[in-house]
């Protein structure tokens, strides 16, 4: 998820801030995310969709983008609270590896895995993707849902993804992007950029889509599809904001001022869609 909270303590580096945010008490996220605790865009099909329905639809859609038929090996880099690895294991009997540097996320995933009897299918590793060395050709699919923004060396990341994929394997990468290179330059010149980049969008490097495409090309991947998920992310964040408002008493009990803090950054993120930012999904294949 790229819409990270502001003011989560005095972080010294962007990555520390990121981890710090994701390593907050999981119960805070339980208050405003859907039951799968998926911290990225849902996919809505109708006005009546609940957030949970839309998050499940999204995961099924990702499976479709990956061409899953059952039993594939999936590497989820930036797995959050395990929504994708658990879903793909449960629904498609996939063998999944979830990577995340936040220890509390793993503790939570382990509980869920045990409760659902998915021990043989779901494995997690508490590390950053930069530190992780996947088995070459060991995966049919690699997924990064809103996590590449937290990774500094994009070319090295995509090269590692390509190494991890078997021939014919698929990458699904979705990310919030600057709307254009010109917009990024404009923001780079402004003193408030750090607030947007590190405060609002989660510590990390927000890039235009063109840079993600160039990195995929440079690594030798074939571009299969680009999808615009901006409107879906807008609605997803509206759902989170409604949940934050509804859970305000509990959130205030947890940490005074938390409601306002969460609403402030969710509102700011939602204001930028289509003007400064877009949310895209990129589907690539390791093939000629």
């Amino acid at each position: 998820m790229t819409v990270a909270a502001t003011g989560q303590g005095a972080a010294t580096t962007p990555r520390a801030a990121t981890n710090q945010h994701y390593d907050l008490d999981p119960e805070i996220f339980a208050r405003f995310l859907d039951p799968l605790r998926k911290y990225s865009s849902a996919l809505f099909a109708s006005d009546d969709d609940t957030l949970e329905q839309a998050q499940r639809r999204k995961l099924a859609w990702v499976a479709e983008q990956l061409g899953l038929t059952g039993g594939e090996r999936i590497l989820d880099a930036g797995c959050g609270w395990g929504a994708l690895p658990l879903f793909m294991a449960e629904e498609y009997r996939c063998r999944t590896v979830g990577i995340s540097p936040a220890p509390r996320q793993h503790a939570y995933i382990r509980e869920r895995v045990a409760a659902r009897g998915l021990d043989a299918l779901v494995r997690t590793e508490t590390t950053s993707f930069e530190q992780y060395e996947p088995e070459p050709g060991g995966f049919d699919a690699v997924t990064l849902l809103g996590s590449v923004v937290h990774m500094d060396d994009l070319d090295a990341v995509v090269a590692k993804i390509r190494r991890a994929l078997r021939r014919g394997g698929t990458l699904y990468l979705s990310e919030s992007c600057f709307r254009s290179e010109a917009i990024r330059r404009t923001f780079d010149e402004r003193p408030g950029t750090d607030f947007i980049r590190h405060g609002i969008f989660g510590s990390g490097e927000l890039r235009p889509l063109s840079e993600l495409v160039a990195a995929a090309e440079g690594a030798g991947l074939s571009i299969r599809a680009v999808h615009d998920l901006t409107a879906d992310y807008h609605r997803t964040i509206e759902c989170w904001m409604a949940n934050v408002r509804a859970a305000s008493p509990a959130l205030e009990e947890h940490d005074e001022g938390l409601t306002e803090q969460l609403l402030r950054y969710l509102e700011t993120a939602n204001a930028g869609w289509g003007y400064t930012t877009k949310h895209y999904a990129l589907v690539c294949r390791k093939s000629r």
Binding site: P136, R166, R167, K286, R288
Partner: protein, 90 residues
Amino acid sequence: MTSSTAVPSADIIRTVTEVVAEILGRPVDGLSPDADLRGVEGADSIKVVRIIAKIEQAFDIELEDEEIFGVNTIGEVVALVEKATARERA
């Protein structure tokens, strides 16, 4: 991952030489392992790419860009195929 057994070098040399001979329209006997592919009569960059494509299909491998575009001789192609078959069947 596909099969497990390594392809014997002699088979790789023979297959690569046959592919080169076929695409360049030269007799197999006239091609030595150290022959410069681009120097063979009838060779051009398109034919070299076709040779690589046919070899990838024949061995069910995918060579890396930096390998393909740096290769000059049949012997070098054979070495690449050996490396790739080891890599992909590991």
